[in-house]
Amino acid sequence: MHIDLSAGGLFGRALVTLEPGEKFVSDAGAMFRASSNIDIDVTTRSRGKGGLLGGLGRILTGDTFFLSTYEVTDGRPGEVGLAPTHMGEVREVKVSPDEAWLCAGGSFLGATSTLALDTRFQGLRGLLGGESLSLLRVSGSGELLVSALGMLTSMEIDGELIVDTGHLVAFTEGLAYKIDRVGGGWINTWLSGEGFVMRFSGKGRIILQSHNPTRFGRQLGPLLPERQA
C-alpha cells in the first residue's frame, strides 16, 4: 500500500495505491476517482446499538456516518483518490498500538483497515449548552488520514494550551482536556464571538487546523438560499 499526498496545498487529496488483499477505509463520498478494478463496499456505522439513524452522507454528526471500504478485485494493483469536503491540507498520522488518537469527526478522511475506529467514544466532559463535539477514537497500528479547512499544524504539548474547538483536528489520548468557554461569563462569550475552547494539559501531540469550519459555515450559510426546516 502506498499513500501519495504529493498533491498538496489548499486542495490536498490522497491517492492510495492498493495491492491485492489490502483494504482501505474512508468516509464514504470521499472517493472522487479510482481505477476500474476497485471494489467499493459502503457500510453505516452508528453510535449505540446499531440501526440506521439517518444522516447526510458525508457529515460525521457523531451518530451515524458512512464508511467505504476499498479493495482490488482482479489481482492487480489499483488506486483510489480521496478528497475531503473543505479547502485545506491532508496529512497522514502514523498510529501505533501504544497510543490511540482522538480525531474530530469532521476531520476524518480515511484509514488503513488495520485500525479500529470507535464511534461510541463520548469524550464530551463538562459540556455546556448544546454544542456537540464528535470524536472518533482511532487505535491499533496503521495510517490515519486527516484533513483540514486551511493548514494543518502539529504541535507537541507539555504544559497547557487552549484551543478553540473548531480548530481541533486530532490529539493523542494521553492528553487531559476540559471543555470550557473563553473569557468566562455568557455575555463575554457572546460578544467575543468565541464558542467553546478545550483546555489541554499534560504531555502529548495535537494537530490543529488554521481555519474554523463552524465559523466559515456561519458566514456562508446565511448568504445562501433559505431551506425548509
Binding site: I162, V163, S210, H211, R215, Q219, R227, Q228
Partner: protein, 221 residues
C-alpha cells in the same frame, strides 16, 4: 508585540507573541489557540449605538475582541475564509488605510478604527456598504478571500467592489454601476469602484458574492 504570518497565499493565519501587559485587538471569533492566562474583553468600533446603526444599514456589527496578558503569552488567529493575510504598519500623522469592512482581521492598540458609510450604492464583498478607516500607529492586519494582487494605481482603475480589499487614502474613488440598468442586471457584475490618483490598491482574486452565486444551485431543500 511580535507577529508571524504563515500559510500565505491561500491559508494565511497569524500568531502574536505578547510581552507582559501587551494587548492585541482581533476580529471576534478569530482566535484559534492561545496560551493559558490570556484575558479577553469585547470591543466595538465607535461604540454600541454605532454598531447597531451599522447592522441596521446592512453591514457587519464588527465586534472586536481585545486579548491581553499579565505575563507573556501567545495567541494565534485566522480569518473565516482561507486566503492571504497582510500587514501594514501605520506610522501616525497622515498615514492610514481604508478597508472593505470584512477584510479587517486585527490591529495593535495604537491603531484607531472608524467606519464610514460607503454610500447607498456601494456593496463590498459580504459586508455591506461600510468602509473601515485605520489611522494611528501600529500594525493593521487584513485578509483577502483568495490571493492578493497589489497594484500601484496610476490613473483610472475600475474594480468590482467585491474584489476590493484595501487602498491608501491618497486615492480618490467613485462608485458606479456598469452602465445602463439592464447592463448591470445581466452583466452579473455588482457595482464598481473607479479609482483616480495614485496610491496602492489591494485586490483579491475571489469574492464572497461569486462564491455564493456559484454554490447556490447545488443547495437543495
Amino acid at each position: 508585540m511580535e507577529h508571524k504570518i504563515i500559510g500565505n497565499p491561500d491559508r494565511g493565519n497569524v500568531s502574536f507573541a505578547l510581552a507582559a501587559g501587551e494587548s492585541v485587538i482581533v476580529e471576534a471569533g478569530s482566535m484559534s489557540f492561545m496560551t493559558a492566562g490570556m484575558k479577553v474583553k469585547p470591543r466595538l468600533i465607535g461604540g454600541l449605538l454605532t454598531a447597531v446603526k451599522r447592522k441596521l444599514l446592512g453591514g457587519e456589527s464588527l465586534f472586536l475582541s481585545e486579548y491581553s496578558t499579565a505575563t507573556a503569552g501567545a495567541i494565534a488567529i485566522a480569518p473565516a475564509f482561507p486566503g492571504t493575510v497582510l500587514c501594514k504598519v501605520l506610522r501616525g500623522a497622515g498615514d492610514g488605510l481604508l478597508l472593505a469592512a470584512g477584510s479587517f482581521l486585527a490591529c495593535g492598540p495604537g491603531v484607531t478604527l472608524t467606519t464610514e458609510y460607503g454610500g447607498g450604492r456601494s456593496w463590498f464583498s459580504g459586508t455591506g456598504p461600510f468602509i473601515l478607516r485605520a489611522t494611528g500607529s501600529g500594525p493593521v492586519f487584513f485578509n483577502t478571500y483568495g490571493a492578493v494582487i497589489e497594484r500601484d494605481a496610476q490613473g483610472a482603475l475600475t474594480v468590482d467592489t467585491g474584489h476590493l480589499v484595501a487602498w491608501e487614502p491618497t486615492l480618490d474613488y467613485r462608485i458606479r454601476g456598469m452602465g445602463s440598468v439592464k447592463k448591470t442586471l445581466f452583466s452579473g457584475e455588482g457595482l464598481v469602484m473607479a479609482f483616480t490618483g495614485s496610491g496602492r490598491i489591494f485586490l483579491q482574486t475571489r469574492q464572497l458574492g461569486g462564491f455564493v452565486r456559484w454554490l447556490a444551485p447545488f443547495c437543495q431543500g
